[in-house]
C-alpha cells in the first residue's frame, strides 16, 4: 500500500499543496468574496485601520483600485458612480466617473468622484454595492442604469447559492488555485483569442442560454420589469437617506436593416423621467450623445464608449450638477470660472487616490 504514493505522485501533491497554501497566505485578499459572484456586501471594500477605504481588484469582477477616507473631509463633494461595464470604461482615467471629478474640480467644486462600477452587474448586484457605498457619506450617488445585465444577475445569484452548498460539482473549484487558474484562462486566453461571435454562438458558461433569453420577448419583458423594479428600489433607498441621486439611463448603438446606425434607449429614458423629482435627477445618455459622431464615440453595439463619449457624458453630468448646485448643497463659487486664478485650481482636492501598481 505504501508504494501507492510514488515519488512522482508526491511531487504532484507537494506542488499543488504548496501552490494552494501560497495562494491562501499571500493572496488572501484575492480570495475574499471571490466565490460570492458579486453577492458579498464586503467584497471589494476594504476598510483600513488608518481610516482609509480601499477598493481593490482581484483579477475578477471587482472595482478599479481606488482609495478614499472613510470620514468625508469637510467641504468635499463625494460622488459614487454605481453601474456596470459602461461607466467602468476601458480604464479608470478613461471613464466618465474620473473625468467628471476633473470637470467638477475645474468648476471649483472640491469633488471626489469614485468609480464603483463593475462589469456585468445589473440592478440587483448594484444594490449590494449601493448599500455598502451609502455607509461612506456620499454627497451624491450617480446610478448608471441599464437593464442588460439582469439575466446575469440572476445567474450569478444562483451560482453563489449553489457554490455555498455541499454539492460535489463545486468541490474542485473550491480549491482556490484551481478556480484562479480557471478564471485566468477564461479572462486572459479565452476572451482575447476566441472571437465574440463564436463565444456567443456556442458558448461556454451559459452564454447560449443568455443569448436565448435575450431573444425571447417574454423573457425580455420579465427581465426589464425586474430591472425597473430594482432600480426604483435603489433610488428609493438612496433618497431614504436624503442623498441626491442622478439616474443616468443607458442607450446603445444599434443598426437597422440598411446598416444605418441609430441610438436606442429601450424605454429606459421614460423610466428615468418618471423617477425624476425632488432630489432625483435624470440624465439621458441618448440625449447627451445624439447629434454626435456616434460611430466614433461608441466602442461597439453594446453601449460601451470610447473616451470621447465618456468625456461628453462627464461634461453633461457636470453641467447638471452645476445647474442643481444649490439643491445639491454645493456652495456657490467665490469667483467665476473665467476669472479663477491659477492657484485656486491647484488648491482643489485631487479626488480619489489611485494606489500605485505593485
Amino acid at each position: 500500500m505504501r508504494r501507492l504514493i510514488t515519488p512522482a505522485c508526491l511531487v504532484v501533491i507537494c506542488l499543488l499543496g504548496l501552490a494552494e497554501l501560497g495562494a491562501r497566505v499571500f493572496f488572501a485578499q484575492d480570495i475574499s468574496g471571490r466565490f460570492d459572484y458579486g453577492y458579498n456586501p464586503q467584497a471589494g471594500f476594504a476598510e483600513r485601520a488608518d481610516g482609509t477605504v480601499e477598493l481593490f481588484r482581484a483579477g475578477g469582477r471587482r472595482f478599479y483600485p481606488q482609495t478614499f477616507q472613510r470620514p468625508r473631509a469637510p467641504g468635499v463633494f463625494r460622488i459614487f458612480v454605481v453601474g456596470d461595464s459602461v461607466p467602468r470604461g476601458a480604464g479608470l482615467k478613461k471613464a466618465y466617473p474620473w473625468l467628471l471629478g476633473q470637470e467638477l474640480r475645474q468648476h471649483d467644486i472640491r469633488a471626489e468622484s469614485i468609480n464603483l462600477a463593475v462589469p456585468g452587474y445589473g440592478a440587483r448586484r448594484c444594490q449590494i454595492v449601493l448599500q455598502k457605498a451609502l455607509t461612506f457619506e456620499p454627497s451624491l450617488i450617480i446610478l448608471h442604469f441599464d437593464d442588460y445585465n439582469k439575466w446575469e444577475d440572476e445567474r450569478e445569484w444562483r451560482r453563489s447559492q449553489e457554490f455555498k452548498g455541499w454539492h460535489p460539482r463545486h468541490w474542485l473549484m473550491k480549491i482556490f488555485i484551481f478556480r484562479r487558474l480557471y478564471e485566468a484562462k477564461l479572462e486572459k486566453v479565452f476572451w482575447p483569442l476566441v472571437p465574440e461571435e463564436i463565444r456567443l454562438r456556442y458558448a461556454v458558461n451559459d452564454a447560449d442560454a443568455q443569448v436565448a433569453a435575450g431573444q425571447d420577448p417574454k423573457e425580455i419583458a420579465a427581465r426589464i420589469k425586474l430591472a425597473y423594479d430594482t432600480a426604483v428600489q435603489n433610488v428609493a433607498m438612496v433618497r431614504a437617506r436624503h442623498i441626491p441621486v442622478i439616474l443616468v439611463t443607458q442607450c446603445r448603438l444599434e443598426q437597422d436593416g440598411h446598416h444605418r446606425l441609430y441610438l436606442t434607449d429601450h424605454g429606459l429614458d421614460a423610466l428615468g423621467k418618471s423617477l425624476a423629482g425632488p432630489g432625483v435627477y435624470h440624465v439621458s445618455m441618448k440625449e447627451v450623445l445624439s447629434g454626435q459622431d456616434i460611430k466614433r464615440i461608441f466602442a461597439n453595439f453594446s453601449g460601451h464608449l470610447h473616451q470621447e463619449g465618456h468625456q461628453l457624458l462627464a461634461r453633461a453630468l457636470c453641467a447638471k450638477i452645476e445647474l442643481e448646485r444649490a439643491a445639491l448643497g454645493i456652495p456657490a463659487p467665490s469667483v467665476t470660472v473665467a476669472e479663477r486664478p491659477q492657484e485656486a485650481k491647484t488648491a482643489a482636492p485631487a479626488g480619489p487616490s489611485v494606489p500605485r501598481k505593485p
Binding site: M1, R3, L4, T6, P7, A8, C9, L10, V11, V12, L15, L16, P168, R169, W171, L172, M173, I175, F178, L181, Y182, A184, K185, L186, V189, F190, P192, L193, V194, P195, E197, I198, R201, Y202, A203, V204, N205
Partner: protein, 526 residues
C-alpha cells in the same frame, strides 16, 4: 453517467474500494450491479436491451458449444428483459414503459425461446450454424431498429419521391440507446468466436453478463473480444499497487485529452462546421484541424479513461489508438485508429468475405464493402456512408496506384519517404474528417469551395483563433512526443520521476483551467 461527470468520480472510488474489499466471487456481482447502475443512469429502459443482448448471446454461445441450457432455463433468461421492463413499469413510472412495450418485450422473449428450442430439434451438426444465425439476426434486428429504422425508411421515401411515388410513412420517434453499436458488436464477436472455436464458451451467466455490460467499455468501447476479457473475469485479479498507479495515470491522460484538448478544439470546430457560418480558406482549415484534434482527443481520451477504470479493477482492456496521425498509409491508419472496431470488421467481415485471398478485384470489392459498412456503423446518415466510401477509395488508391502502393504500411523504422508520406496521409485524413463532420453534402461542397477563397475579410478573425487552437494542441503533441518511445499513448514510466511529477501537475492544472464543463463524448452517439 459520463466519465467526466462528478457522479462518476464518486461512483468509481466506491466501486473500486468495495471491489478490492470483497471476496473474489462477489466482485463480479458488484461490477455487474455497478455496470447496470452506470448504464441505467442514462435511461433505465434501455437496460432491457443490454439484458436482451446478453441473454441471446449467452444462450446461443452455450448452445453452439453443445452445452445447451434446459428449456425452462432458456425461457427464464429470455424473459429477463421483460421482467426488467415490468419492474420499471411498476416501480419506476417515470421511466415511461408503456403496456405495449411490456407486451413487445414478452413477445420478443417468447419468440427467441421458440426459435432457440426449434433449432434444438434440428440435427446436431446443423445446430451451431443456426444458433449463430439466430444470434446475429436478433442482435442486428435490435441494432437496426433502434439505429437505422428511420434512416432506411426516410431514404426509401426519398428514393420513391425521385421516381414520383409518394410514400407518406410516419417516422418513429426512436431514441438511440447509448452505446448500442458497441455492446452489440462485442457480444456478436463473442458468439462468432465460439462458433469458430476461437474462444472458450462462458458457461457462467454472471461472468458473461459482466463481460457484456462491463461499465468502463460499455458505451464507447473498446469493443473487446471474449477471449481477452472473459478469462480475466473468471480468473480474477490480485490486488497490486501497479493496478492503481496505471489506472490513475490512464484516467489523468484521458481527462487531459478530453477536457483540455477536445472540448476546447470543439469550440472552433463547431463554429466552422455550422451551416450558418461563412467560411473562407482559413476557417475551413482551422475548422478541420480543430475537429481532427477534437475527435481524436475525445475518443482516445474516453478510451484512456475506460482502460484506466478497468485497470483499477485489475482488468486489462485493449489499446484503441496508437498515434494515428503518424500513419503513412490508410491501412496503417486503420491499424492505429479505433483499433478495436477496425479489427472487428477485419475479423468478422473482411476475412469472411474473402479478405485479400481472392483476385485483386475481389479484394477491392471486399475493402469497399467493409468501409461502407464501417461508415454506416458510425451513424445513420449518408454523410457517414460517404466518409466510409472515401476511406475505401483511399485504401484502394494505396493498394493499386503508384507511387502510393510503394509506401510500406508496416510499423517499421522511419525513412526519408515517411517525411512525405505522413503529411500526405494526414492531409487525406483531414479531408476525410471534413466529410465526417459536415452537416450536409451541400455544406461539404461549400467547405471545398472555401478552400479557394483566401480572403480574410470574409468571416471572423482567424489569427487569434489559430493561437487558441495551438494553445490546446501543442501540449498534446508534447505529450505524444514523450510517450512515443513506448508506443503507448499513456505510458510515461520511462520519464524520470521528477519530470513525470511535473508533467502530471501540469496536466492537472491544464484540465482544471478548462473549467466545469460536462460535455458528452462524440462516440456516445454511435
Amino acid at each position: 453517467m459520463s466519465f467526466i461527470s462528478w457522479q462518476y468520480f464518486i461512483f468509481l472510488p466506491v466501486i473500486i474500494i468495495s471491489y478490492w474489499l470483497l471476496p473474489p466471487r462477489r466482485r463480479l456481482l458488484l461490477v455487474l450491479a455497478g455496470s447496470y447502475f452506470f448504464y441505467g443512469c442514462w435511461d433505465v429502459r434501455f437496460l432491457a436491451l443490454v439484458l436482451a443482448t446478453t441473454v441471446i448471446d449467452y444462450n446461443c454461445g452455450l448452445s453452439i458449444a453443445g452445452r445447451k441450457n434446459r428449456p425452462w432455463q432458456v425461457l427464464g433468461l429470455a424473459l429477463l428483459p421483460a421482467a426488467w421492463c415490468l419492474g420499471c413499469h411498476l416501480g419506476l413510472p417515470a421511466a415511461g414503459i408503456s403496456d405495449n412495450l411490456l407486451l413487445i418485450s414478452v413477445g420478443l422473449g417468447l419468440a427467441f425461446f421458440g426459435a432457440h428450442e426449434a433449432i434444438g430439434l434440428l440435427a446436431r451438426g446443423r445446430r451451431p450454424k443456426y444458433y449463430l444465425v439466430l444470434s446475429v439476426v436478433f442482435c442486428l434486428a435490435i441494432l437496426g431498429f433502434f439505429k437505422y429504422f428511420n434512416f432506411f425508411v426516410g431514404s426509401f421515401q426519398s428514393m420513391m419521391g425521385v421516381v414520383g411515388v409518394r410514400a407518406n410513412w410516419a417516422l418513429l420517434k426512436i431514441i438511440l440507446p447509448v452505446g448500442i453499436s458497441f455492446y452489440t458488436f462485442q457480444s456478436l464477436g463473442y458468439v462468432i468466436d465460439v462458433y469458430r472455436g476461437q474462444s472458450p464458451v462462458c458457461a457462467d451467466f454472471l461472468t458473461f453478463a459482466t463481460f457484456d455490460a462491463f461499465f468502463p467499455q460499455l458505451v464507447s468501447g473498446p469493443i473487446e473480444r471474449g477471449r481477452n476479457l472473459i478469462p480475466q473475469f473468471e480468473k480474477g485479479a490480485d490486488f497490486r499497487e501497479s493496478h492503481i498507479q496505471d489506472g490513475l495515470r490512464l484516467i489523468l491522460v484521458g481527462l487531459f485529452k478530453k477536457i483540455f484538448v477536445a472540448d476546447n478544439c470543439a469550440i472552433l470546430a463547431n463554429y466552422a462546421f455550422a451551416s450558418q457560418t461563412t467560411l473562407n480558406g482559413y476557417w475551413a482549415v482551422i475548422g478541420v484541424v480543430a475537429f481532427a484534434f477534437q475527435i481524436y482527443s475525445d475518443f482516445s481520451g474516453y478510451t484512456d479513461i475506460a482502460r484506466g477504470s478497468a485497470r483499477l479493477l485489475g482488468i486489462n482492456l485493449m489499446e484503441n489508438f496508437k498515434f494515428p496521425y503518424t500513419s503513412r498509409t490508410p491501412s496503417e491508419f486503420w491499424g492505429r485508429w479505433h483499433i478495436s472496431l477496425s479489427t472487428w470488421f477485419r475479423d468478422y467481415l473482411y476475412i469472411p468475405l474473402g479478405g485479400n485471398r481472392g483476385t485483386r478485384w475481389e479484394t477491392l470489392r471486399n475493402l469497399t464493402i467493409v468501409m461502407l459498412l464501417a461508415g454506416l456503423w458510425h451513424g445513420a446518415d449518408w454523410i457517414f456512408v460517404l466518409w466510409g466510401a472515401y476511406h475505401g477509395v483511399l485504401l484502394i488508391l494505396y493498394r493499386v496506384v503508384p507511387p502510393f502502393n510503394r509506401i510500406p504500411d508496416k510499423d517499421g523504422a522511419w525513412t526519408w519517404r515517411d517525411v512525405l508520406a505522413v503529411p500526405l496521409m494526414l492531409l487525406f485524413t483531414l479531408v476525410g474528417w471534413a466529410i465526417f463532420r459536415s452537416p450536409s453534402v451541400s455544406f461539404l461542397a461549400a467547405w471545398f469551395g472555401a478552400l479557394g477563397h483566401w480572403d480574410s475579410s470574409l468571416g471572423l478573425s482567424w489569427e487569434s483563433s489559430s493561437l487558441w487552437l495551438l494553445f490546446h494542441i501543442l501540449p498534446l503533441i508534447l505529450l505524444q512526443v514523450l510517450t512515443w518511445k513506448y508506443r503507448d499513448e499513456a505510458t510515461l514510466t520511462h520519464v524520470p520521476w521528477l519530470a513525470r511529477g511535473l508533467v502530471y501537475t501540469l496536466m492537472i492544472l491544464l484540465i482544471v483551467s478548462s473549467g466545469e464543463q460536462d460535455k458528452e463524448f462524440i462516440y456516445f452517439q454511435f
